[in-house]
Amino acid sequence: MGLLLACTTQALAGGVVIDKIYHPYVHPLEQEVEWRAVLQDRQPGMADNTQLYRFAYGRAISERWSVEAYLVTEKSNDQNFRVEGYELELQWQLSEQGEYWADWGMLFEVEKSATRDLWEFTTGILVEKEWGKWSGTANLYMLNEVGSGATHELRGQLGLQARYRYSRAFEPAIEFYQGQDTLGAGPAILGQIKLANRRKLNWEAGVILGLDSASPNRTLRLLLDYEF
């Protein structure tokens, strides 16, 4: 019954709201291979221990635009590892870093379910503001589903991050997420390791704690991103 409920009400990407926080910058001539994981324990209406994995390749296509393609996979206590969907994402840098009071960008994403007649379209605003060694970032999204399995409702989603730029390899942060059946906050750490000229490994890890009864109790998010 729990699984049925999850299947009938769940949005794409497993209905998981907690993910990485996007920064509103595009780095021309850069390519990346990315792995992301979101592992949550228990959440009403979702199978226990739902795990979402994204594998992606992305590149800048101009000075202000980048594109990234994802394969989204999922597993849980009720379900073996399977391909859940495919995503294509476009990011647009709207302003030069430091030019205005805050830096602005936009994100456009389309996701197709691999198992259902379901498409999800996302439009997001990305904002970042710097205060000395602190950087505050906000991601505000509107999501809409289309297809026979769609709920046809417009949903909002918010992600916030306050990051302290202590060193290139280690940046502590606090994150907050709000969206469908999710209200959570918790600590994260981020960093970058320079491997060689024009070769970098970015990493992120965060533990997000549910702030209400509808949210997952604990969510672990991980990211590895190889830039070249």
């Binding site: 910058y25 780095h27 021309p28 001539l29 850069e30 000075e63 709207l94 302003s95 030069e96 870093q97 430091g98 030019e99 205005y100 009071w101 805050a102 602005w104 936009m106 605003i125 904002v127 710097e130 000395g132 950087s135 730029r165 060193s167 290139r168 000229n197 024009r198």
Partner: protein, 104 residues
């Protein structure tokens, strides 16, 4: 229509008054390699890459990373930041392309 554009309109006067400092890249070196900038003031670095190959201005201390294509120029906004030495380097040629922003 877009927030950035809207902000651009409202802050046009402030940006017009932003001091401009020119830096050149030649033979994978920054000229000048020491750039003096007033403290607590936003400045606009106009970086001209005179080499045919791309270079990337990178400074973790200033939280800036910007690619400059060969034979082209870009603008990088810095600050306002407090007094101090803020190193930068060229990501493509880090052994030669090095410099420091001296904020006083």
């Amino acid at each position: 229509m877009y927030p950035g554009l809207l902000l651009g309109i409202f802050s046009h006067a402030a940006i017009a008054a932003t001091p401009v400092i020119e830096v050149e890249i030649r033979d994978h070196l920054f000229y000048p390699s020491e750039v003096r900038v007033p403290a607590n003031t936003k400045v606009k670095l106009l970086i001209k890459n005179l080499d045919p190959t791309p270079e990337e201005f990178e400074s973790y201390e200033l939280n800036r990373e910007k690619v400059i294509s060969g034979n082209s120029k870009v603008v990088i906004f810095i600050g306002p930041v407090g007094p101090g030495d803020y190193p930068f380097f060229g990501e493509f040629y880090p052994n030669t392309a090095r410099g420091v922003i001296l904020v006083r």
